[in-house]
């Protein structure tokens, strides 16, 4: 069955550089002595620790469990001892450290007891809970916990399940190799996903620059009991973006700010399907992934890597980096980021490591002003007006940036790629987004503080009135009280008020303090006059005259 395909706006054709790593089989990296496992390898809450330093651990054992709905578990990729639990540098663009478990391998690689799930016999909710505890997250790079997306939702039933095998970023070939070598296992995973979602239709989208992967998947799907369509989509970056792929395959657009289920679609990466299969049919949690290592390395290729392996060891496994290497990119060259250090671990999001050299990614010439040529708008897959957003971000006209839908920007970098003035546009949009978010938060905090203060003032006022009422009651009830005591009280109150007045005069803010001496003297004179008139006023009792004086 040949599906009709649809188009999204724009897109670009960067040089693919896939062949360097796509033509050799996946190599399994030997288990290292030491693994570092960040507790945050997914979108959502950080996992809750289940082990302590010194614990003996088996391969596949749960180290940290999901905390809340949007979270995922972390497991031991091999057997050994917990050597440390501390903040360490993680592969994140921020370069900030995060809590990690250090596992010393004992070299025995002893598994926990593994049990396949009879997923059709168990209630679906049970299978989904097990997937959460298996650490299954989106392996396309976003690492959103998959169990959340696999729940059946009566309000938004999933009519079409889409498997993303587009792999549109240059250099990356891990999904390509996975589909070529393990197509049947991927399809087993897809079947489980389709069963859990109750989706009548299922499509696998693969860019047409991967004919071998498409052929392998087609052959595997032909053997499947369920109908899974393998659709080759045109190679066009960012055709592997979930929303773009959904548009290409179904012709429907996920509404802005909504999830794909809104239009009856759910989308997963093919590698995620593979991990679902490994867990359900073999009881193996997510403890490894396939990573492309390419660029300026001796033997580019794909590697099956235990999570937590240091990236420098992975680069060594690929024959080591060339001498001109000036950095390492995690992800692709369009949306990836420069690693803060090579001594960070492979995590669930690590789909690709590119050793970069100046000849591969030459330094951009200095940015020129925008000439409004609108190549960016022509290339934008979301149909934004990047030149306007740039202008608003640059001038910090953030409300305008929001009006022009900066939050619909997927940061794919197409605008940047085509800009003849070499303006780092994506940077500007990120800045605008984070500024707007920060301002919104500040505004919320200010509103909350104002509400609290208003409430407090109201409470004080209410208490005052209550007290006054009580006093009045008491006074009415005790007329016999001696007038002497009353007098003393009055005097004390008067004295206290005088003191308060003096204090107030002292601490009341003066915006006149910085003025020169002459001006200060003038201000003092005016203050004195004012004090005089106000003190005179009640005695004079002549408001008309007062008005005239003013």
């Amino acid at each position: 069955m040949i599906s009709r395909l649809f188009k999204f706006n724009g897109g670009v054709h960067p040089p693919q550089h896939k062949l360097e790593s796509a033509n050799t089989p996946i190599v399994t990296v030997p288990m290292p002595r030491r693994l570092v496992l960040p507790l945050r390898q997914h979108v959502g809450n950080i996992s809750k620790l289940q082990v302590a330093v010194g614990d003996k651990i088996l391969k596949g054992q749960l180290l940290a469990i999901a905390d809340g709905m949007i979270s995922a578990a972390v497991h031991a990729p091999t057997s050994g001892t917990i050597a440390a639990i501390e903040a360490q540098l993680i592969p994140h663009a921020s370069g900030l450290p995060d809590l990690c478990i250090t596992l010393e391998a004992d070299g025995e690689d002893r598994w926990i007891e593994r049990q396949p799930l009879d997923f059709r016999a168990l209630p679906k909710s049970e299978v989904i809970a097990r997937l959460r505890d298996a650490g299954v997250v989106g392996l396309g790079g976003a690492t959103f916990p998959s169990h959340v997306k696999l729940r059946e939702d009566a309000r938004h039933p999933v009519a079409t399940l889409i498997l993303n095998g587009a792999e549109c970023e240059p250099y990356i070939t891990c999904d390509d190799r996975l589909m070529r070598e393990r197509a049947e296992e991927v399809v087993r995973g897809i079947e489980i996903m389709q069963y859990l979602l109750g989706a009548p239709r299922c499509m696998v989208g693969i860019e047409d620059n991967k004919p071998e992967a498409a052929a392998a998947m087609r052959a595997a799907c032909a053997k499947s009991a369920t109908a899974i369509e393998v659709v080759e989509v045109p190679t066009l970056y960012p055709g592997g973006g979930a929303k773009q792929l959904i548009k290409v395959l179904t012709g429907r657009e996920v509404p802005s700010g909504k999830l794909p289920t809104e239009i009856g679609v759910q989308c997963f990466n093919v590698a995620t399907a593979y991990t679902v299969h490994r867990f359900v049919n073999f009881g193996e949690p997510v403890i490894s992934r396939i990573v492309t290592v390419t660029g300026n390395v001796a033997h580019p290729g794909n590697f099956e890597v235990p999570l937590g392996l240091a990236i420098d060891e992975l680069v060594t496994a690929a024959g080591g980096a060339g001498s001109e290497t000036n950095g390492y990119i995690m992800g692709g060259p369009m949306m990836g980021f420069n690693l803060p250090s090579i001594h960070v671990p492979v995590v669930k999001a690590t789909n690709c490591i590119i050793a970069s050299a100046p000849r591969m990614f030459p330094t951009q010439p200095p940015a020129l002003p925008c000439i409004r040529c609108t190549r960016c708008a022509d290339a934008c897959p979301v149909n934004l007006q990047p030149q306007e957003l740039y202008w608003f971000a640059k001038s910090q006209n953030l409300e305008k940036a929001r009006d022009y839908n900066v939050f619909d920007c997927i940061e794919c970098g197409c605008c940047n790629y085509v800009c003849p003035s070499h303006i780092p546009l994506v940077q500007y949009y990120r800045f605008a987004k984070s500024e707007i978010i920060a301002q919104d938060k500040a505004k919320q905090a200010a509103n909350l503080a104002r509400e609290r203060n208003e409430f407090r003032l109201a409470r004080i006022e209410r208490e005052k009135q209550e007290r006054a009422a009580k006093h009045a009651q008491r006074a009415a009830g005790a007329k016999t009280e001696s007038s002497e005591a009353d007098e003393a009280k009055k005097a004390a109150i008067a004295a206290a008020m005088e003191r308060a007045k003096a204090q107030k005069a002292e601490v009341s803010p003066k915006n006149t303090e910085d003025l020169p001496a002459a001006a200060q003297a003038e201000v003092a004179a005016i203050d004195a006059r004012r004090a005089e008139t106000t003190s005179e006023q009640p005695e004079a009792g002549n408001p008309v005259q007062e008005k005239q004086e003013n």
């Binding site: 369009m334 979301v382 003849p420 003035s421």
Partner: protein
């Protein structure tokens, strides 16, 4: 190596501007062939003035000189202005026009990317208002000229206003067809008779129509190279053809044919090279259509009823004024949004 994307395409502003210059070359060749080599002197004069004044202004504004000078945008302005001027215009006219375009219209507004008006058209409008007589004194196509000037004669005329002995100004200059048409229609002459005057060619002006054809060729190259999109040329020519066509059909005695409008005056130059200036034009596809079609209509209105024979410059400048408004009201639908 700090932020993604780490790769970019190999476009640059200087490359874009270079291709625009390249696209003008067929028009210039036709120009030289039909009107003589004087235009090359004007082009050179405008280029030198533009580069020198741009460099000076960048220095005064404390901006890096080389990155901006090498973007070729000053040359594009210079060439467009030079091609819009009468080919044997005195040297100072070219210099004054170019200076105004680069210094006032471009650099004083902030330089590349910041000028709200098309600099070449500002330069042209200033000259047309200040020196209307010289600006409408066009040399006749060589085919019609009674005397032919050598290159050195043209040089002497441009720099010293000296004509060779025995040659009168009338022998080399003529009214442009648009000008001729306007005065003859005012004298209530019949259109059929007017069109038989020697200054008219098959479509537009004799000679001028061929230059226009060469501009069209260069413009199509720009579209093919994706330097410009089809929107502005198509909408401009469409707008001009539509309104001139309607009036031509209703009253052919007083209104000249759309073909004449399209191939006469600066219409083709405007369609592909002037109205397509990205900096001073709108950015949305619908906005480009509205902008360019309006320029086409305005051009016709000024040609038919205005005080000047050609209306391109004023039409472009008037529509430059409307660009922010056009952009604001023609924002395209964003992915995943309802139709606005």
């Amino acid at each position: 190596m700090s932020a993604p994307p780490y790769i970019t395409g190999n476009t640059s502003v200087s490359m874009i501007m270079l291709k625009v210059l390249l696209a003008l070359v067929p028009g210039i060749i036709a120009y030289v062939w039909l009107f003589g080599s004087g235009i090359l002197i004007t082009l050179a004069l405008a280029s030198v003035t533009a580069l020198a004044s741009e460099a000076l202004m960048l220095k005064l504004r404390r901006r890096p000189i080389w990155p901006f000078l090498s973007d070729n945008s000053a040359l594009v302005t210079a060439w467009l202005l030079a091609l819009a001027l009468p080919p044997l215009a005195p040297w100072w006219l070219v210099v004054v026009g170019t200076l105004f375009a680069i210094v006032v219209a471009k650099q004083l507004y902030g330089g590349l990317g910041y000028n709200p008006f098309n600099p070449a058209m500002i330069g042209y409008a200033v000259l047309l208002i200040s020196f209307p007589v010289i600006m409408t004194q066009w040399p006749a196509p060589l085919e019609l000229a009674q005397a032919k000037l050598s290159f050195s004669d043209q040089l002497a005329y441009i720099f010293g206003r000296v004509l060779p002995v025995g040659v009168q100004l009338d022998a080399i200059s003529t009214a442009t067809p648009l000008d001729y048409l306007k005065t003859q229609l005012k004298l209530e002459h019949a259109m059929a008779d007017i069109r038989h005057a020697p200054v008219f060619g098959v479509l537009g002006a004799k000679g001028g129509e061929i230059v226009a054809g060469a501009y069209l060729l260069g413009g199509l190259y720009l579209v093919q190279q994706r330097i410009i999109t089809w929107h502005i040329p198509a909408a401009f020519l469409g707008g001009l053809a539509a309104i001139s066509g309607i009036f031509f059909v209703i009253d052919p005695q007083h209104y000249v044919s759309p073909a004449f409008h399209l191939f006469g005056g600066a219409a083709m130059l405007c369609a592909f090279f002037i109205a397509t200036d990205p900096v001073s034009g709108p950015t949305t596809p619908r906005g480009k259509l509205i902008f360019a079609a309006s320029i086409g209509v305005l051009t016709w209105v000024i040609r038919a009823y205005g005080g000047y024979p050609d209306g391109v410059a004023f039409a472009v400048l008037l529509m430059n004024l409307c660009v922010p408004l056009i952009d604001a009201y023609t924002q395209p639908r964003v992915f995943g949004h309802e139709k606005s």
